[in-house]
């Protein structure tokens, strides 16, 4: 049973475009939702995170939108750059235990 479902599995975006990755969850006890970015051969790196009492959080070109009633959250990457090409994971936490989505492989074409 996948507690956090992530889509799409892969995404191709042109340079300057907007990349959107979506996640959905079931467990209403989750209370922290981070996004991680991972490059080949490296560990995941925390990108941005949100708590369910906030509907949106923005850090630079990265924005999380959170819809508590729909139990969905998404990552938006504005002005996508080739350097953003990586695998992105959403996650949800209950008491510090992270449950990850399956990952999205993003490719930004020049």
């Amino acid at each position: 049973q996948q507690q956090v479902k992530q889509s799409p599995q892969s995404l191709i975006v042109q340079k300057g475009g907007i990349s959107i990755i979506n996640c959905a969850y079931e467990n209403t006890a989750f209370d922290y939702f981070p996004w991680y970015q991972q490059f080949p051969g490296k560990g995941p790196a925390l990108l941005i995170a949100i708590r369910p009492d906030v509907s949106e959080k923005k850090e630079g070109r990265f924005t999380i939108s959170f819809n508590k009633s729909a139990k969905q959250f998404s990552l938006h990457i504005m002005d996508s750059q080739p350097g953003d090409s990586a695998t992105y994971f959403c996650a949800a936490s209950e008491g510090g235990k992270l449950i990850f989505g399956q990952g999205t492989e993003l490719s930004v074409k020049p």
Binding site: V4, Q6, D31, Y32, P34, Y36, G41, K42, G43, P44, A45, L46, A49, R51, F89, A91, S93, G95, G96, K97, L98, I99, F100, G101, Q102, G103
Partner: protein, 113 residues
């Protein structure tokens, strides 16, 4: 980068042999975690520690044990490795429990033949 060192970085071993992976941190963080990463599954929590000698099971703990005798070191042991345990293993640390950022090491790629 957070001061996390995983060793070895790569290992190939045979089915039935014991394997120990090490995670060493220099951040003096209380919480340490072991995850495995497999295609189509994201990362899944194996075990975690909330202090010296204090550990608990995660989502996929069967076949794994852990030990933490010092704040800086967290060991993951596969008592008798199986091919299904071929994976990339990541260690993470966190300053406090609850909903605080976890910072990851660069992983150990383990192949069990």
């Amino acid at each position: 980068d957070a001061g996390i060192t995983q060793s070895p970085r790569h290992k190939v071993t045979e089915t039935g042999t014991p394997v120990t992976l090490r995670c060493h941190q220099t951040e003096n963080h209380r919480y340490m975690y072991w995850y495995r990463q497999d295609p189509g599954h994201g990362l899944r929590l194996i075990h975690y520690s909330y202090g010296v000698k204090d550990t608990d099971k995660g989502e996929v703990s069967d076949g794994y044990s852990v030990s933490r005798s010092k704040t800086e070191d967290f060991l993951l042991t596969l008592e008798s490795a199986t091919s299904s345990q071929t994976s990339v293993y990541f260690c993470a640390i966190s300053d406090s429990g609850g909903n605080q950022p976890q910072h990851f090491g660069d992983g150990t790629r383990l192949s069990i033949l």
